[in-house]
Every structure is written in structure tokens, then in C-alpha cells.
Symmetry: C2
Subunit: 332 residues, 2 copies
């Protein structure tokens, strides 16, 4: 059975695919489909490899209307830095939604995931952040700390960014990168508390397993996007915050109650077991209550969905065809 498969590398993708308003649009569309109940998204396949300090996740989602669906493999090998390699890498496959035949393999080392994850934060800022954001704060100093701020700045062109992380040198480097990339004033905050109190939009991007933000620090005119917790045990927000916020939203409730901030809130009894949070797609569609005025406090819990992978992989495949990049392999 002969057919052609397109192999696309990370560097090819980086040349043509970046954050921007249209990437946020693409993720908005993915979340809207997800909440409309059109998406078929099975639970994540997760393989823990404690002996080698590693884990592997596989995600997929089928979205009607997209020509293909993605299957994404995300390995995390946390001893890699000792070998001079990043902990996270991965690849994505794209299969025809009509025949199941493989159409493309993206050897992206997680680049598409970086983009779609940051763009989800952009969509959240578009729909949930106060209309006027003067200062945005980011907790964490890694790749997502930079990208989340870039994606949010497209939607709320704030003038100032505060960065906080456990390692001050890393925080300084992150602030410099952000200042360079989006041309705003970016400084290291003295504490997470100062950062939260002075910001109208806060993004948390860490793998923390205990809260980094106190409920006491919340103030009117605040939105928080918590995107670090994506596994059982991870937790960035004081569990009381989830119930105290005027609006609490999940990217996908069934995932957040296992992997996200919602899990910690439920386990500590801070979330009433008979209540179901809204999903981001419902906020986009306007079918669930959102922020009513700038003084509201809102929180969004992002765990990452296969629907985002399918959306960005379809887009990358179309780009590869129109711009003619990648290597074609005939299977027979």
C-alpha cells in the first residue's frame, strides 16, 4: 500500500510557525469545538518510568471539520540535563480523519506543544483578563514563562511585566528576554506576593507541587492563568483561591479534576463536589458566566488538550503544503 508521508523537522517549523493573533484564533477554535461536544478526546495515555526518572504521555483528539487528527508523544526524561539534553522533547503524528493513514510526522521536539500551550494562554487572556492590563506577572522562568507573556501581550498590550522565580539569575534572564521580545519594561519582582499584588494578569508556569500563591494576595481586577499543573500532584495555587474567585474555568474539566488546580481544590474540600466549573470553550461561546466587570477575580486552569494538538498540527500540515517544506517519504 503506497502513500506519501511528510516528515517535518523542528527547524522547518520554526521558520514559518510562530505565536501571533492567528495562532490564538486557531486555539480559540479548538476550545470552542471541545466545549461544543464535537471533539472525541480519550483520556491521556501516561507511562511512568520511575527507575529512569521519566514519564511519557500520549494525547490525541478528533475534531470534526479538521482533515486530520494528531497523536502526540511527549516524553519527559528529567535526568537529560545531566547529558546536556532538554528534559522534554517529543513528536507529533498527523493521521487522515477519513482513512487513518499517516499524512505527516512532525519531529518537532515539542515546539508545536510550546506554541499551542502558550496560545491557549493567549485565548484565556483574550476572554478572561480585565480589559485594561497595565502590569502582567509571570511566575516561573522557563520557555513557557516567555511564550505565555508573548501570547497574552497580543491580546492585552500591557506596558510592564514582572517576573518571579526561585532562581534570581534565571528570573533576570527571563525578564531580559521578555523585554527584548515585546519591547516592554520587564523586571524581577522581589516576591511572588509583590508580583500578584501589582499585576492585573498573572500566569503561573512552574512544575510546583505546592502552592506558590496565597489566597490573601488576590485583589479585585485580577486574572490568573495557572498552566503549570498538568499531572497528579502538581499544584501552583492555594486551593482556597479556586472557590474564592468570582469565576473559575477549566480547559477541560475531566482533566483538571485529575491533573490541574481543580484536583488540589477538590482534594482539600475547597471545591463543592456538586459543582462543575465552566470550560474555556463555554466562555468563548458565551454559554457560561464570565467576568462581569473589571473588578472581578477570575482564574483559568490549563492542563493541555489533544484538541490543541490536532488544531496546530493541521495548521502546520497546510503550511507545509502551501510553502513546500518538509521531506516526502513514499511508504512503498
Amino acid at each position: 500500500m503506497s502513500h506519501e508521508i511528510l516528515i517535518v523537522t523542528e527547524s522547518e517549523l520554526k521558520r514559518v510557525l510562530n505565536l501571533g493573533r492567528s495562532m490564538n484564533d486557531l486555539m480559540e477554535k479548538a476550545f470552542a469545538s471541545l466545549a461544543a461536544g464535537e471533539v472525541i478526546m480519550p483520556p491521556i495515555l501516561s507511562m511512568d518510568l520511575p527507575k529512569v526518572n521519566a514519564e511519557v504521555d500520549v494525547k490525541t483528539a478528533y475534531i470534526p471539520g479538521f482533515d486530520h487528527f494528531a497523536i502526540k508523544v511527549s516524553p519527559g526524561f528529567f535526568d537529560n540535563p545531566k547529558l546536556g539534553l532538554p528534559s522534554l522533547n517529543g513528536l507529533m503524528m498527523l493521521l487522515s480523519a477519513k482513512t487513518g493513514l499517516a499524512s505527516a510526522v512532525f519531529l518537532d521536539n515539542g515546539y508545536l506543544t510550546d506554541l499551542r500551550t502558550a496560545a491557549a494562554g493567549g485565548v484565556v487572556a483574550r476572554h478572561m483578563a480585565p480589559k485594561k492590563v497595565g502590569t502582567a506577572g509571570v511566575i516561573g522562568t522557563g520557555v513557557q514563562a516567555r511564550l505565555q507573556i508573548i501570547a497574552a501581550h497580543i491580546e492585552r498590550p500591557f506596558k510592564k511585566v514582572l517576573v518571579w522565580g526561585r532562581n534570581r539569575d534565571h528570573a533576570e534572564a527571563c525578564a531580559r528576554d521578555i523585554a527584548y521580545e515585546i519591547g516592554v519594561e520587564a523586571k524581577v519582582a522581589d516576591s511572588a506576593e509583590q508580583l500578584v499584588k501589582e499585576s492585573q494578569l498573572v500566569v503561573t508556569t512552574t512544575p510546583s507541587r505546592e502552592p506558590l500563591i496565597d489566597a490573601d494576595w488576590m485583589h479585585p481586577d485580577l486574572h490568573i492563568t495557572a498552566m503549570g499543573a498538568d499531572q497528579e500532584g502538581k499544584n501552583e495555587l492555594d486551593p482556597e483561591m479556586v472557590a474564592q474567585a468570582d469565576i473559575f474555568v477549566c480547559d477541560r474539566v475531566s482533566q483538571c479534576e485529575k491533573l490541574g488546580e481543580l484536583r488540589a481544590a477538590m482534594e482539600s474540600g475547597n471545591w463543592p463536589s456538586d459543582q462543575t466549573p465552566a470550560e474555556l470553550g463555554e466562555i468563548i461561546a458565551g454559554t457560561k458566566p464570565n467576568r462581569t466587570h473589571d473588578a472581578s477575580i477570575t482564574i483559568c486552569d490549563l492542563t493541555g488538550t489533544g484538541a490543541q494538538d490536532t488544531a496546530i498540527a493541521n495548521h502546520a500540515f497546510e503550511l507545509a503544503h502551501s510553502l513546500d517544506f518538509g521531506t516526502i517519504i513514499k511508504t512503498d
Copy 2:
């Protein structure tokens, strides 16, 4: 992050990788590791797509001692024949067990699965079939009907093969292919009953959802390998047979009780809920009772495991290196 990934096609694999005693050896090793508790094998990721009459399964398993682990994507799009395409296809990825980096992508359209599935039947024949098999019978007329008989013949060089299927033309073609391939007399049986009664080794290879073999047809000096049922609802054997056999063995109990003949036997009350069947790896290791004499009746329930995928994909990767085939893609 630059590294090299090997892309290997179905036709490249077919030139160098086939059934044979060493392939059976490889699967024997995989099952032995599985039963020794060394393998980490998460539940299958399964996505049903009823609107397009399709399903997609993803399997993986980590086996200590192998340099890599496989992640296999198996789509089944059952309207494909209308388009002139096979229903089943798929691809396999191979990731480093040390760093998680992708080492290879096998665009095999399911060829490696065909081999490892048949070789599992070969291992079962090696360990569980009567020492002397004069006649082997196969129910079903597809690819696995042919391959299962080839893999079993390596272990028990029977002189005669009976084939039975719902479509007599398909059965004739299957018998002709088997006769040509292994040089034995191969005939179409008049009925499944005749086939079972005249065979010492029977392999069932169909996607049936109701029993094709009656418990009444079983006789001393018989082994049955049931490899068709690999999904909830599939069932080839009269549920009473599972309990009536002297020895009943699963490739993986946790899978068979959801997807295999064991499921049907448990649901119909034919398998005592407080009893756990032996696994194939335990039979290989000699730690659980096996056939004691030729007159015994034995049954093995195969659902297919990620451990087999990891074993065959490692082997294919080594072959590609030593024989220098495949296309190398630099990721950066």
C-alpha cells in the same frame, strides 16, 4: 536540539524482516519479561470514531534491557475497503529508553504488528501445543490466518492444514497460499466443527462477536490459540471452553479480562471470579502449570501487547543499522 531520526518504510522492512524461529525467540523473550513484572505497560489508549466507522489504538511498553521502547499507533478505518484501501494500517515510533528522544519512525502500515502477532502464536505453539501435531486448523482467512500457520509450523511441523471461513472462496485462496508457503497439504474444511475435531492445533483469527467453536467439539490432544478477540465485544470461543480446558492461559490477564476470550467467560459466569489465569510468560518461565500430557486440552487467549511492539521495533532498528537501510532525517 539536533539529533538524527531514522525513517523506515514498509517495503524496506519486508525485505529483511520475516517470520522464523528467531522471530518466535524474540517474542518469547518479550513475554518472559512481561510476566517477570519487569515491563511497564500502561492501558491501551483507545479512541472510537463511530461517525466514520473507525477506531484508533495506541500501545506502548517499556522493557528494561531494551535500548528503546515503541509507541504504536493502530488505526482501523472500516470503510477504507470502499476506497480500495485496507482497513488497518498504522505506524510505530521508537524512543530512546535513556533520553526519550525519538530514534526511529517505522512507516510500516501494520507490517511489524502482523509479524509480532503471528510470532506470539508461534511461541504459544512452542510451549502449549501437543508435542505431535499432525493437523493444524485455522479459522479465518485473512492475513493472520496465513501468518499464524507459518509461525506455528516452525514449532510443530504438521503435514496437514485445514482452513475454515464464512466465505468459501476466501478459504480456498487461504489454503492455496498456505500450501504454497510451507509446502504442506492444505484444504478447506466443511465446517468449523470438522476442523476442530480433526486438528491437534487450532488457531482462531477472526473479528467475530459470537462464538465460532462449540465446547462440545473439544477433544483430548488439542490446543487452541484464540487471537481474534482484541476488543470489548469480540468473542470466538464458547465461553464454557475457557473453564473446561485443562489449562487456560492469557498473554496479559489485565487485557484479556477486558478484551479477550476471558472477558466473555467472566461475563457469562463461566470463569470463577476468584481465579486468575496464568500468563504466557509464566508458562515460558515454567512457574505456572502447563500441559502435562498430550491428551490435555489447552487454550491460549492472545490480545496483543505493547511488549511485543517494543521487542520487534528494537530488533528492526538494530537491523536497519547493521544492514544500512532507511532514511536519516536530521531534526535540526
